[in-house]
């Protein structure tokens, strides 16, 4: 069973995101980069399938040279081959353009299964997997939380995550593409012998031009901005003007305020609380 896994590096989500309005960009000097958690789950699944059915796992990424680091991590986890398609401008590309390049690369590789992460945690498009499938003409199921390959290797029964814990069970012929949800598995921690092996492997490079990609992006990036100010619910209006301004200018990054406290008779409090929940759209 040959499996291709599309992975991507993303900025470590613990780092603060500050927008430089002048440059129309985020300040990324201090960032470090990690493998997109959804992709890591996809890779883990691929490795597990390989361990059961044999075959080869190839990881492929489109990104900066720096992304070689996450490919090496993939080798540690159990990928057999790692391919980097270098591009410094990949972030400016949209889901279609990225998927287009990847699908061209995948079409040259033997693949019984293509696995992607359900979404990336930076752009959050949740689209690349589906587009690759469309371009390759593969059946696709996204947000998979369970993946069982039939013993004959001809089909897969998958469980797709829906909302509020619901699931849909589906069956797809193979070859197919699946995108992995975080609940699919728990990625392994590599053994030291695997890490040492991976450090010695070579990362293959594939030139975008050699892939003969014609179509470009279908959307263009316009601006990046701070998130709009969170609507802060102020039942008591007890905030000082300074605090209010801070909340407004700080947007979503604003420190939550402990002065937003309601008290009083339970039924009055309950009314305020329910209004709050309704405003925040938590009521079904």
């Amino acid at each position: 069973m040959n499996i291709v896994v599309c992975v991507k590096e993303v900025p470590n989500p613990t780092f603060p995101v500050e927008v430089d309005i002048q440059k129309n960009a985020v300040k990324s000097e201090e960032w470090n980069y990690v493998i997109n958690p959804y992709d890591e789950v996809a890779l883990e699944e691929a490795v597990r399938i390989k361990e059961k059915f044999g075959g080869q796992v190839t990881v492929i990424t489109l990104g900066a040279e720096r992304a070689g680091a996450i490919l090496r991590k993939c080798l540690c986890i159990g990928a057999d081959r790692a391919i980097l398609i270098p591009s410094d401008s990949a972030f400016a590309w949209d889901g279609f353009a990225i998927a287009n390049v990847l699908s061209k690369a995948i079409s040259r590789l033997p693949h019984d299964i293509v696995l992607c992460g359900y979404q990336s945690i930076d752009r959050g498009g949740a689209e690349v997997g589906s587009i690759i499938a469309e371009l390759l003409g593969l059946p696709v199921v996204t947000a998979v939380v369970k993946l069982d390959i039939a013993p004959d290797g001809k089909s897969a029964t998958v469980c797709r995550r829906l909302e509020r814990g619901a699931r849909a069970v589906k069956r797809s012929p193979l070859p197919a593409l699946f995108t992995a949800d975080l609940m699919l598995n728990e990625p392994r921690y590599p053994t030291l012998p695997c890490i040492k092996w991976a450090l010695k492997q070579e990362i293959e490079k594939l030139d975008v031009k050699s892939l003969g990609v014609e179509a470009g992006p279908l959307t263009e990036f316009v601006t990046i901005s701070r998130p709009p100010p969170k609507k802060v619910f102020i039942p008591t209006g007890a905030l000082s003007p300074a605090e209010r301004i801070k909340l407004l200018t700080g947007g979503g990054a604003a420190k939550k305020s402990s002065s937003n406290i309601v008290e009083g008779a339970p039924h009055e409090v309950a009314k305020k609380v329910v209004d709050f929940l309704a405003e925040k759209r938590f009521l079904l």
Binding site: D122, R161, S172
Partner: protein, 359 residues
């Protein structure tokens, strides 16, 4: 992918419109409407209301696309929220989970009618359907929009949260039509419906099903009581402030009303109020639900490292100085055993008795 193996004909019947759908060129805004057991999904209504504004700006028609198995009863609703026309197609192959069938139908409809803009509400179906459709049609798509606009040149301009919501980025779709976007839930307002508003309902029939690759086998209902705490969208968490096991029924009532799952602090687990796999925190699970309600939890660091990425945090505590309040979007100073039942009571007044929700 095979295309064009559909034939449409207008069903004559109860609804007003007769004749073939006119080829209008790239004109009009379409909204893909989804239903969930006898109701139009809220995010579809949000999208529809927002689309109405765009349609007004363009002065073009707003069409609702209602596909599914037995959805006819809902067809008159989209006009109440601003749709001018409703395309209704019913067929058993158009069950919610059959993405391939939806894709074939929508692709053909779009090709034949060339809408200028096609919007989806961001749902599990749309997340699979919209990117495939856009790829097939080679048109631009922006998913999970927080805001959609049309700029002077007629391009669809979409703003969406990126980096986990820590910034918002704006993208513009290429001129190829339809320009597509899916709208994230909870960003747009739903206007109160205007029941007097009527629109024409165009009933389409699916004559032959397209090729379906992925076969739907079964639907498994989600139950907030049993769903893994890491997957829960809303969590009501209890701590020592619950005081006694008997009070747990109050929490369960609130959780059921909200459709939330129950979690707890280490004390709650030690006391046997909450099973160990529902402990939130450093030596428990790390969770990031949309809503986290901390009932009688003081907010010690080993607990908060496990929940600080939650969307909205509500805190109920008798101690004004409890560190938990520092994370609160709304805090309630009061006794859990009094406040929680009061909230449950109020909730029953506000929301209709919960229907069986399912896709």
């Amino acid at each position: 992918m095979t295309l064009g193996n559909f034939a449409f004909r207008v069903a004559k019947g109860l609804f007003t419109m007769e004749g073939d759908i006119k080829m209008t060129g790239a004109k009009g805004i379409w909204v893909f409407i989804e239903s969930e057991r006898d109701e139009i999904r809220k995010v579809s209504l949000e999208t529809l209301c927002e689309a109405r504004k765009l349609a007004n700006g363009l002065n073009e028609e707003l069409c609702a696309l209602l596909l599914g198995d037995k959805v006819e009863s809902l067809a008159e609703l989209p006009p109440h929220y601003g749709a001018d026309r409703v395309f209704l197609m019913q067929h058993e192959s158009l069950s919610y989970h059959n993405v391939d069938a939806h894709l074939n139908v929508v692709a053909n409809l779009v090709k034949e009618n060339s809408p200028r803009i096609l919007l989806f509400g961001s749902t599990p179906l749309a997340k699979e359907l919209a990117p495939r459709l856009a790829a097939q049609l080679r048109v631009g798509l922006v998913t999970d929009a927080a805001d959609v606009k049309i700029d002077a040149s007629g391009k669809l301009v979409v703003r969406k949260p990126v980096y986990g919501g820590k910034a918002h980025a704006t993208f513009a779709c290429a001129p190829a039509t339809p320009q597509m976007a899916s709208v994230a839930p909870g960003f747009m307002d739903v206007k109160p419906p205007d029941a007097s508003r009527k629109g024409e309902v165009v009933k389409l029939a699916l004559v032959a099903g397209g090729k379906t690759n992925v076969e739907f086998i079964e639907f498994i209902k989600g139950d907030p009581r049993t769903v893994a705490i890491t997957e829960a969208e809303m969590i009501v968490a209890v701590g020592r402030g619950l005081e006694k096991k008997e009070n747990l029924s109050l929490i369960e009532e609130l959780a059921d009303k909200l459709g939330a799952s129950i979690g707890g602090s280490r004390v709650a687990v030690d006391n046997g109020w909450v099973p160990a796999e529902r402990q939130v925190g450093m030596t428990g699970k790390t969770v990031a639900p949309r809503l986290y309600i901390a009932c009688g939890i003081s907010g010690q660091y080993p607990h908060t490292v496990g929940m600080e990425r939650s969307g909205t945090v509500m805190v109920i505590n008798t101690d004004r100085n409890a560190p938990m309040f520092k994370l609160a979007d709304i805090g309630v100073l009061g006794d859990v055993s009094q406040v929680v039942p009061a909230i449950s009571k109020r909730l029953s007044e506000v929301i209709a008795p919960p229907k069986e929700k399912a896709q």
